[in-house]
Symmetry: C2
Subunit: 353 residues, 2 copies
């Protein structure tokens, strides 16, 4: 996207000038200590070859002036920023907290800082963010894709920016990605309901253009087909996430001509709303949700879920990223992490007609 480059929209321009308030530089320290510039550099970086006496003088000057090395300049000189970028969908989503935290821990272990931003599920914003991070020369990127075309990253990949896609695969480029087994997890979850006697099972999920949603839908269909149950259209609700519409969808499939006796919820937000709807029903309806939710065990009945391990996903992704940077890793791979069915009651309810 040339626009991103052509138009002068750099954020810094909008901020008042002030060049961060004239901080002291190594030159200032050198002048005050009565030594050369390079000697200060040596002291600051703990390089050998400085007499204790000189070092003391320099250190004094540093403390007196409140000098702090300017890492921007250092980066410019050295070529590595020791920071990685994380583009996720929404920091406020409880699924991404632990993921983000796991990435941070790995980054920290490698001495890198984490710069992050939310795409809000908007492909343009994802691209804008990813490119902004590249412009800052992050050493690597962890991306939870919002869009499905990532060719805009080709020059970056070629330039050696380590990149790992998470939660959803990269679009139209060959890159590392770390996913949950969405298909298998959903299939198992639905099969679990079938095993408990359900045949009319509803599915509420996100837009199928989102990879995870599509895979989970596929898992649902597969489980139904394996059991020889034809799926009715009225049992499926796709592209629905905001609470009111989930509510409508759930109420719809509970009251149609062939009402469902169980619901499979395609993600944590859907699950929460469905729980609310089911709590209002007199009839007991079974529920299995994709993604674990806090306190799921304290509800009555406890909520059976297909859990993904967000921390493990983040950790795996970040570790691969640093192995790319090491040079240990060359060929992009697609890694699928298993999910885990946690039974707590709601998924084991028998069908009630």
């Amino acid at each position: 996207m040339p626009e991103a480059i052509r138009r002068s929209d750099h954020p810094a321009d909008r901020l008042a000038g002030a060049r961060y308030g004239n901080r002291p530089t190594m030159k200032d320290v050198a002048a005050r200590a009565g030594v050369g510039l390079k000697t200060v550099s040596r002291v600051v970086n703990g390089e050998p070859g400085v007499t204790p006496e000189t070092e003391r003088r320099v250190q004094e000057a540093i403390d007196a002036l409140g000098f702090r090395r300017n890492d921007s300049a250092r980066v410019l000189r050295k070529g590595r920023t020791a920071s990685i970028g994380l583009v996720l969908e929404d920091l406020a989503d409880p699924f991404y907290g632990p993921l983000s935290r796991a990435v941070e821990e790995v980054a920290r272990a490698h001495g890198a800082l984490l710069i992050n931003g939310s795409s809000a599920e908007d492909p343009d914003r994802e691209q804008e963010l990813a490119l902004a991070l590249c412009a800052r020369r992050v050493d690597g990127l962890v991306i939870i894709p919002a869009g499905d075309d990532h060719r805009y990253l080709e020059p970056e990949l070629k330039a050696g920016v380590a990149t790992v896609f998470v939660d959803r695969p990269a679009g139209k480029i060959d890159a590392d990605c770390v996913l949950s087994d969405n298909y298998g997890g959903a299939r198992d979850g639905v099969a679990h309901l079938i095993a408990h006697g359900h045949r009319r099972i509803g599915f509420i999920g996100d837009m199928p253009r989102i990879h995870t949603a599509a895979e989970r839908l596929r898992g649902y269909r597969a489980a139904m087909e394996d059991a020889g149950i034809p799926v009715e259209d009225s049992w499926m609700s796709l592209g629905v996430t905001d609470p009111q519409r989930v509510r409508d969808a759930a109420e719809g499939m509970l009251s149609g001509p062939s009402p469902v006796t169980a619901i499979f919820a395609g993600n944590n937000r859907v699950t929460v709303t469905v729980i609310r709807v089911l709590a209002e029903q007199t009839r007991r309806v079974a529920l299995v949700g994709f993604d674990d939710i806090e306190l799921a065990d304290l509800l009555e009945p406890g909520v059976t879920v297909v859990a993904q391990d967000a921390a493990a996903i983040g950790r795996t992704a970040a570790e691969r990223l640093f192995r790319q940077l090491d040079g240990t890793l060359i060929t992009p791979e697609r890694i699928e992490l298993p999910t885990r069915l946690i039974t707590r009651g709601s998924g084991e309810l028998p069908p009630a007609d």
Copy 2:
């Protein structure tokens, strides 16, 4: 802390060399397009004074080479990084997700990126992080303090780094801070329990060296004193957060010589564990928690909480930060945001002896 400056511990050193894979520079673009360096800069920044024909040639070269401006160099030249740092306690804590997101939104509105890190409640790590961010010359810092001495930031403040403390006040320096009314909220919550007939009320909270914990404890004591109820030591458990110890504490105060009939939980993690403990009791014990928790309304009984508005706190803090950068804001202030008591059932249970 001189060490942070003296020793050569810069993260970049640990990563393999490779100077981000030889990315093309403006010079390369200029050579390819057959124009001068500055002309490329003009095109890239949308500055006037370039013929359409020249611009086209430059643009072609940019696309062909996959050029991306190096913002590190730009930063070095311009003096502003258009990024702000966020030091929080734990990204995985559900309280900080929305807070962080709110800060990000404001930053984005001002065209700035967000760099963040978790201190894990460790003062040294907080300092290390904050100083690392300053070394990168972030324009501003939002800090959720882990320590209680922030004099290490004095040179930064003097140098014009905008700084706002959040959730807990700054220690030993004069700086902006945005807090919840922890004292008032806790007092109201406990008063609520008292109003429902309770007299033996337990308090489980974090270490009083943490400001929020201390304030909430103070609120608890104030409410009790207002009601003329002497507090017994066995009713209070301080410095306890990990689940097992919270469990022990709760069970202890429920079974002692003068067992409590209600518990005030000092933060969300404590609340969750207490809910688990109470679910196992035969006797019904009232509960009010500080911080809202998801699904609190679906439990039986619903959980009454003193809610803070994490998003509002984050937004307020970030807005103040950018007003500092504008120069609109000079004098540091302490802002306390009100809390809100949300009654859902658990706090309205009558005492059961």
